[in-house]
Symmetry: C2
Subunit: 202 residues, 2 copies
Amino acid sequence: MNPGLLIVLSGPAGVGKGSVIKRAKELTDNLYTSVSATSRKPRPGEIDGVHYFFKTRQQFEAMIRENRLVEWVEYCGNYYGTPKEYVTRELEKGRNIILEIEVEGSMKIKEMFRDAVLCFIVPPSFEELERRLRGRKTEDEETIRRRLDRAREEFRYIPKYDYVILNDTVEEAARRFVAIIRAEQMKTFRNLELIERLTNKE
Amino acid sequence: MNPGLLIVLSGPAGVGKGSVIKRAKELTDNLYTSVSATSRKPRPGEIDGVHYFFKTRQQFEAMIRENRLVEWVEYCGNYYGTPKEYVTRELEKGRNIILEIEVEGSMKIKEMFRDAVLCFIVPPSFEELERRLRGRKTEDEETIRRRLDRAREEFRYIPKYDYVILNDTVEEAARRFVAIIRAEQMKTFRNLELIERLTNKE
């Protein structure tokens, strides 16, 4: 069995990453979102190992020291990160795993997992991104400006990604994303067993 | 506008390349088969520039000398080849062009067109290929044996291709092929204009 794909998905706040992932999961049967570790307290209904791997600050800091995370951030006083062992184990099971992470983390993933597939979701235009952010009506003007500045920074990383996915509509973007996954699974270097089987015929 | 993709499709005789291409063309609206040049005489109904570019032997040999073919072969006393100018012009129009060619020619294409996408169609197994060849009932035993020997040789080139497409059913293989084309069009290096447009926003 071929190992699963490690798929990194980035894109600015408001571009619709969550909706695209949700729809892509409906369109294909082997697509899983990575479970992060966090030092944040579980909220009602959140299950350990499903929504997050819940850790104490001490446990999380030990994971950082022992290099057991592929990437991590501290955000609003809590740690969030991706356990290396979990990712490796899921890939070995043949599962295609999505990591939805920021640009800096993505670069670290690519160093650690050379065969990771890096995808960046873009809006049709910068103006459209602004419109979507304002449309959410959940952020004040200051926050929106900060998010747009951040988007500009993030866009500079696109050339380091393998694929750029246009999100004009969620349906189209999800289909594009699924096409990338299908294509990547056909890369020759991921099918050496199949090739071996055919070439060793006498 | 982005230039079109140059897609090379190879695979052993009997694997079903023609049927896969035919179905893939129905599934997508920007996919064209390259028109070859030949020194063979036109058959009734064949149109110059549609089925082939018909040339005299002298004209064809001049094209070889002047390096105006991306690849060529002599087969049963006639020349067949792909005119470089034609391919370049079609790609500039934004058309995705399929070249259905043999492994040796594919390697030359990759040297000349660095961004060409090389796909190799494989049967589910060697036995299945043999079964399909016999099923055609158009070749004698000797020809079938020669084709199977040739298939073994061709399989050794697979690692030099970008993608390996399993042809279990024509429908599935065509969908795989179309997924590769969609994915390749999203490669960041093919979308520099879009990225430029987003990053230059102040």
